[in-house]
């Protein structure tokens, strides 16, 4: 539904250059909720603003719903009619709502329809219908100043839907809201995604948001997408930073000479008594440092962090056993242990791991 290739944005101010986007290839499938997460300054806002060309990319292409926006936009700095028409079918919601305080709620929702030159009767009908959809039918004649943050964002969402978009872009739409309101707005976005088949791209810096509603996610760092895929794929990827963040298990090793292993249970593996089997078979003492069960992307998943006595190389066999049980095993990157032994935790034994390949296959 949305594809970017080699998207690059360089800001120049004087002789200073900031590379906000550095060759981003994004693939958002139709009908999914796609989360982009990353630290402040990673380039998330720049990325989402490039998706409707509010920001002109320095190079690279943006394709939305089969339309190459970068080709459409032409060369000039101003948006031509073709680009404007394309934009009117891409909804956008903002962190600070960006509602016109001079207009009533209903008139705010009507604004995109005025731009589309819809006649007055139809505008009014559609605006009221959308306000009803977001649960604000009774506030049509209020002014934005009279609404709470959550209500304002609902108006923002209703307004974004006025042009019958296939895609909704959301830049930190819940960052100015309290946790309770955040949940209700996320729920609304989820409902809209399901009911209208709306593709949603949302930017956030809260893992919780990704966990609650995203089907897929991308992690940005320094203008690059360093990981992306469906949540299931990410969780099944050894060493995935997103997976670890999405589903953290705590627990510090009790000493230097220990191997810390994170085990992820999917599906049926969760029910087998693997840990006691491991202890019995290899006669090792296992300490459980932390464990959690959670629902991520609608699937039950369990994670456990255990500690085995001895260094990594002494535990190759038990770890192999765990892998044979169909579990996803990550040897935690505990720096002390790894550095002193010169063993890079990434250089794991070549036992096949049930990991779906990350990134960019089969958009749509």
């Amino acid at each position: 539904m949305i594809t970017t290739t080699g998207l690059t944005k360089v800001y120049r101010s004087g002789d200073r250059e900031v590379t906000a986007l550095d060759g981003v290839d994004l693939h958002v499938r139709e009908g999914e909720v796609y989360g982009v997460i990353g630290q402040s300054g990673a380039g998330k806002s720049t990325l989402i603003r490039c998706l409707n060309l509010l920001e002109r990319p320095t190079s690279g292409t943006v394709t939305v719903a089969g339309q190459d926006l970068t080709a459409l936009a032409g060369r000039g700095p101003r948006a031509n009619a073709a680009l404007r028409a394309a934009r009117s079918h891409i909804g956008m919601v903002f962190q600070h709502f960006n509602l016109l305080s001079s207009r009533t709620v209903q008139d705010n929702v009507e604004l995109p329809l005025e731009i589309l030159k819809v006649d007055r009767r139809e505008r009014s009908r559609k605006a009221l219908e959308l306000l009803d959809l977001v649960g604000l039918a009774d506030k049509a004649q209020a002014y934005p100043g009279q609404l709470s943050g959550g209500q304002k964002q609902r108006v923002g969402i209703a307004r974004a839907l006025a042009g019958d978009p296939k895609v909704l872009l959301s830049d930190e739409a819940t960052s100015a809201l309290d946790p309770e309101t955040t949940r209700s707005i996320l729920q609304l976005l989820r409902d809209l995604n399901r009911q209208l088949g709306l593709t949603v791209v949302l930017i956030t810096h809260e893992m919780d948001v990704v966990k609650t509603i995203c089907d897929s996610a991308a992690l940005m760092k320094n203008g690059r997408v360093v990981e992306q895929g469906t949540v299931a794929e990410l969780l099944a990827t050894p060493g995935s930073e997103l997976a670890r963040e999405l589903f953290p298990v705590g627990g510090e090793p009790s000493g230097d000479d220990r191997t810390v292993v994170d085990i992820t249970f999917h599906g049926s593996a969760a029910t087998r008594p693997v840990i006691s089997e491991l202890a019995r078979t290899y006669n090792v003492d296992i300490s459980i440092l932390g464990a959690a069960m959670d629902t991520v992307g609608g699937k039950q998943i369990g994670r456990m962090r255990i500690e085995l006595p001895g260094r990594f190389e002494e535990n190759v066999v038990p770890i192999g056993f765990l892998r044979e049980q169909g579990l996803q095993v990550d040897v935690a990157a505990v720096a002390e242990a790894a550095d002193t032994t010169g063993t890079d935790p990434a250089a794991q034994p070549a036992i096949p791991v049930p990991a779906a390949p990350l990134e960019k296959e089969a958009a749509k």
């Binding site: 995109p112 731009i115 100043g145």
Partner: protein
């Protein structure tokens, strides 16, 4: 004596009304253009911005008395006469256009950039942004700017009056100053003060109504205070210039 006062009041109102009318008519487009051609703005255009800005600055720095004299040929060309209330409207308007344009520019600058971005994101073009976002959102500040302009023009019209433009300034000058009728001069000055006060009150009332639309009481008060201080500053500035 009373009909004299009455006639001259009408003359003053005539001059102020029409010069305000033209100041708004031309000042808004100039102000909008100044704002939109700024660096980083929608129609960013350094050349247009600099040239227009220079013209506006020249217009604003001209001493009004000299402006009247310089404009005499032009005034005669436009309205057929160079003196009397009609003749005074031309220099008054010419002086007020750049003044008001700057106030418009300042008012538009206060409009949240996020709103422009929102309008662009929904496919809005430049006209949409001007007429549906910038001007409506800046309306309270624009009304405050008109108030300031009217008050400034009341002051200017008195100067114009003193050099043959008619109106209260003329009355105060010819009778009060030249013929030592102190009471008449005082009456005239009091009337000017009353006029200015009424305009300011009316302007504030409208601004409060507009800014108060659906906002909570506290934010209205803060907004008003800001507007009023900016108005005061602007007025002080012109007194100096005059």
């Amino acid at each position: 004596m009373q009909p004299l006062l009455y006639d001259n009041t009408l003359d003053t109102l005539f001059m102020v009304w029409w010069s305000t009318f033209y100041a708004v008519l031309f000042g808004i487009p100039v102000g909008v253009l100044l704002h939109l051609t700024e660096r980083g703005a929608l129609l960013q255009n350094v050349v247009v911005n600099k040239v227009l800005g220079a013209i506006v600055n020249i217009g604003r720095s001209f001493p009004f008395l000299i402006l009247i004299v310089v404009l005499i040929p032009f005034t005669r060309l436009v309205v057929g006469v160079s003196i009397g209330p009609t003749g005074a409207v031309v220099p008054l308007a010419i002086a007020a256009i750049p003044f008001f344009a700057r106030l418009v520019e300042a008012a538009l600058r206060e409009v949240d950039k996020g709103l422009i971005e929102a309008a662009q994101a929904m496919g809005g073009g430049t006209w949409t942004i001007i007429f549906k976002v910038l001007l409506p959102q800046a309306l309270p500040a624009l009304v405050a700017a008109v108030t300031t302009t009217v008050i400034t023009l009341i002051g200017y019209s008195a100067i114009a009056g003193a050099v043959g433009g008619g109106g209260l300034g003329n009355l105060a000058y010819t009778y009060g100053y030249q013929q030592y009728e102190t009471s008449l001069m005082i009456t005239t000055v009091v009337e000017l003060i009353v006029l200015v006060t009424l305009v300011q009150l009316l302007g504030d009332l409208i601004v409060r109504r507009l800014a108060g639309r659906g906002t909570r009481a506290s934010s209205v008060r803060v907004g008003l205070r800001r507007l009023r201080t900016s108005v005061d500053e602007a007025t002080l500035g012109t007194v100096d210039a005059a």
